[in-house]
Amino acid sequence: MLKELLKRELLIAWRRPGEALTPVVFFLVTSMLFPLGLSPSATLLRPLAPGIIWIVAFLAGMLGLQRLFRADYEDGTLEQLLISPRPLTLIILVKAVGHWLVTGLPVVIGGGVVAAMLFVPARYIVTVVAGLLLGTPILTMLGTMVAALTVSLRQAAVLGPVLILPLVTPVLIFGAHSTTLAMQGQSSAQAFEALAAMFILSVSLLPAAAAVALRISHEG
């Protein structure tokens, strides 16, 4: 069941490439604007790079999240998922994984390119990518819960970012610090441990919370 559902998510994304590619294109294009807008100087950009990468990665992730359940809500497939005897928590987890594979993973890979462009030393690019690899799934899971909560609201596009901003703040802080600390020659282990803890908590708890939110939101 899970495999077929994941296959469905990936097939739909494959057949709607414009929608699937929007986050990574936004991530790359917006990141490229910083050297143009601020300065192409390595001295200026290098210390700002972790913050820039994480903020733009967060904004890129927000782009597609509203569509995660909205499209299903509009075409009636959400109703079919809600009346399924299969656990809604698992269904949501699979949808979130599919969404991350399509929109989050390209950003993780693109993060290495952007880091190099922003003059992050080559030996720390792995740190950037590892941080994004842990952090972007957390952003996806938080976004999934907010998208579930706002699926039937017309103002979801405005309300979603407002709701999610306080939740993602720790992820942005620890994500950006994981690279900053490493670049300053300090240990980034604690930042990675915090990200790992948030990853485990978000993957294990948020699908269930999103399932409850989706039922409440839909019943309303």
Partner: protein
């Protein structure tokens, strides 16, 4: 509050065709003093009725009477203000998973992904069902007249063909209780005949159908339990 009119039942009958997956186990669905609001408007109060295997619960009423609201409550997609729905003698809220395993729902929206073919759409449906039909999505699509179009994207199909795909979902899930909300929408005369035939076969196999429609449909000879919802008065309960 205007009382709900439950008119006299027609004689019970069973169609001879039992279908490819054989007879369903006996099932029953009953409503106990159900009270439902839609906003400030009262759809029904003290609605009590029951249907068993081979019977059709026909929700009737004009536009805005609350047929869709009621059928969504019966399908477990929304909550009623008061009252209970029982499946097999137990409130459905006691075991929603068991209830969801025996229902199939075709709502106003088809629940079809336009980016997928009808076969791909129904494969997911079959995987989500606990006891899907043994005959598979291809046979279900043939049954609803989509044999030649089962591998085209649903977005390329007409509205009527997408509706037929949604109806094929009923056959794939092999559920004993069907909820059909305006199933004739977008269908031509032949399609309407198909819906009637599917309902007859389903009841013949011992299933239950809950049907909400304001369009004419031939239910002659079927065991129908009608529920007439009053005209929307805009008044609170």
């Amino acid at each position: 509050m205007e009382a709900l009119e439950v008119v006299e039942r027609s004689p019970r009958s069973r169609a001879p065709d039992a279908g490819p997956d054989g007879l369903h186990d006996p099932v029953s669905l009953s409503l106990h003093e159900l009270e439902l609001w839609r906003g400030d408007y009262c759809v029904c109060t003290d609605l009590t009725t029951a249907v068993n295997s081979g019977q059709l619960l026909h929700l009737r009423g004009s536009n805005g009477a609350g047929k869709t609201s009621l059928i969504r409550v019966l399908a477990g997609l929304a909550l009623a203000e008061d009252g209970e729905i029982h499946f097999g003698g137990e409130p459905i809220t006691h075991n929603m998973t068991a209830y969801r395993a025996v229902i199939s729902y075709v709502g106003h929206s088809n629940g079809i992904k336009r980016e997928l073919t009808p076969v791909e759409n129904l494969r997911v449906t079959a995987r989500l069902a606990l006891k899907p039909s043994s005959s598979g999505p291809e046979n279900a699509l043939e049954r609803v007249g989509l044999a030649a179009r089962m591998n085209r994207y649903a977005g390329e199909l007409s509205a009527g063909q997408r509706r037929r795909t949604a109806l094929a979902r009923l056959l794939v899930t092999n559920a004993p209780i069907w909820f059909l909300d305006e199933p004739l929408v977008s269908l031509d005369h032949e399609g309407a005949g198909l819906v009637e035939a599917l309902i007859r076969e389903h009841l013949g196999r011992g299933g239950i159908t809950v049907l909400a429609t304001h369009q004419p449909i031939n239910l002659a000879g079927l065991d129908v339990v009608p529920v007439d919802l009053p005209q929307s008065s805009g008044k609170p309960c």
